[in-house]
Amino acid sequence: VDLVLIRRSQAGDEEAFGALFHEYKNLVYRTAYLMLDDAAEAEDVLQEVFYQVHRSLSTFDPTRGAFTTWLHRITVNHCLNRRRRLRLPVLSLERLPYLPRAGHVPSPEDRLADEEVIGQALRHLSDKLRATVVLRYYRDLSYDEIAQILDIPVGTVKSRVDAALTVLRRRLGPVGAGAPEPKGIAPKEERS
């Protein structure tokens, strides 16, 4: 169905492009929201991404990669550019207290807290690590897909996932009953 919409959109069918927009608007918006931590910025990115998609759709070749990979790439690039422009800070590891959460059943209040805690924890990641985490753990993409989107080797994806988990583990504390403290399994964090 998507390929049909893409073909029709490439042929100038605005109705098909509208359907494409509605099909993928949440993917773009929510990815941008997690990257930028700001609803208004995510709204802007949504506009810019689909404007770019509309202008560049004629260059998209489905035989060379999935549409979602292409769309993720545009989205992440817009987010990274925006973060660079806004100079959003990366917090130091010592700025916030640890939030140990071991050994209890989450309540609805805890789930709300989880959303806030993960938001705080993400702010401790560099832009590159943050993008990797969002693509891996929100979009559930493979290392190979992330490598294509970020235009980096698969090995670099692996090292970024390791580095991001080390930071997040420190921020989130042990998760689940009996979880041990971090043992330094990850390499040094990259900074953008």
């Binding site: 605005e14 927009f21 609803a39 506009q47 404007y51 070749d61 545009i74 550019n81 959303e115 929100y138």
Partner: protein, 262 residues
């Protein structure tokens, strides 16, 4: 494979991203090492927690219900019928976004909006006294004026959306719309600085940012009964616009537009 080796591979192992040979060795180690099994369990819990929290964080996040209508309006503005001399839409497209394995370039021509900081009022004075027209160019002045307007239009069309918006704020009008109006006007003319000075009843003020007005080319045309003058620099960049019925409506913008500058 010792514990240190295993720890270095646990994340990729959990994500299903290690080679079968490594997986076999790692699993053999896990069978006999309770510490590494605990570490794997903690890692698994952490990743599940992160994934769940991220999904919860955006579970109710949704774009504005007006998002599509906003985009459609923007796209519709771009898709207005165009004169034949503006070329095809494909020719006006900004450089595309790379697909995996290709070459990337988002955005395009850098724009220096500091050059847009000329005073609209200055332009008003400059053109308010225009009483006659002196034409330049060899042979066909209208064709020459259209050639300049078309080149400027092509330059403006290559800007990124952010640059387009910045320019629109600066001019008070989308510069593409302005140049389209120039191209469709039936009295489009091109003037030199000296032409304007000769035809002006008032003194021409100096450009506030030191720009030498003598290096500019001026397109003049009539729109809705008002005289419009567009100053174009040597790189085809429109640097200011003046309009005889609302001279002072042109805001200053002395700073460079944010974003996508390469």
């Amino acid at each position: 494979m010792n514990c240190e080796d295993v720890h270095a591979l646990l994340v990729a192992y959990h994500d299903g991203e290690i080679a079968p040979s490594e997986r076999n060795l790692l699993e053999a180690h896990l069978v006999r090492c309770a510490g590494c099994r605990d570490e794997l369990a903690a890692l698994s819990a952490l990743q599940s927690h992160i994934s769940r929290s991220l999904h919860q964080r955006v579970a109710h996040a949704a774009p504005s219900p007006h998002a599509w209508s906003q985009l459609r309006a923007r796209l519709a503005g771009e898709a207005r019928p165009r004169p034949w001399w503006l070329g095809t839409k494909a020719e006006r497209l900004a450089p595309g976004v790379r697909q995996p394995g290709g070459s990337t370039r988002i955005g395009g021509v850098p724009m220096n909006l500091t050059r847009l900081a000329l005073s609209g009022l200055a332009v008003a004075v400059l053109v308010a006294g225009v009483v006659a027209v002196t034409t330049i160019g060899s042979g066909n002045s209208t064709a020459y004026a259209k050639e300049i307007a078309q080149k400027s239009y092509q330059l403006v069309s290559s800007w990124t959306p952010e640059q387009q918006r910045a320019a629109q704020q600066t001019f008070g009008i989308d510069p593409r719309t302005l140049l389209e109006e120039a191209l469709t006007a039936n009295d489009l003319k091109v003037l030199t600085y000296d032409d304007l000075v000769r035809q002006s009843a008032d003194a021409v003020p100096p450009a506030p940012d030191g720009t030498d007005l003598r290096n500019l080319t001026f397109l003049q045309f009539t729109q809705d009964g008002a005289t419009v003058v567009v100053g174009i620099d040597q790189t085809n960049l429109p640097v200011f616009v003046g309009r005889s019925d609302r001279w002072s409506a042109i805001p200053h913008r002395a700073s460079q537009p944010a974003g996508n500058q390469k």
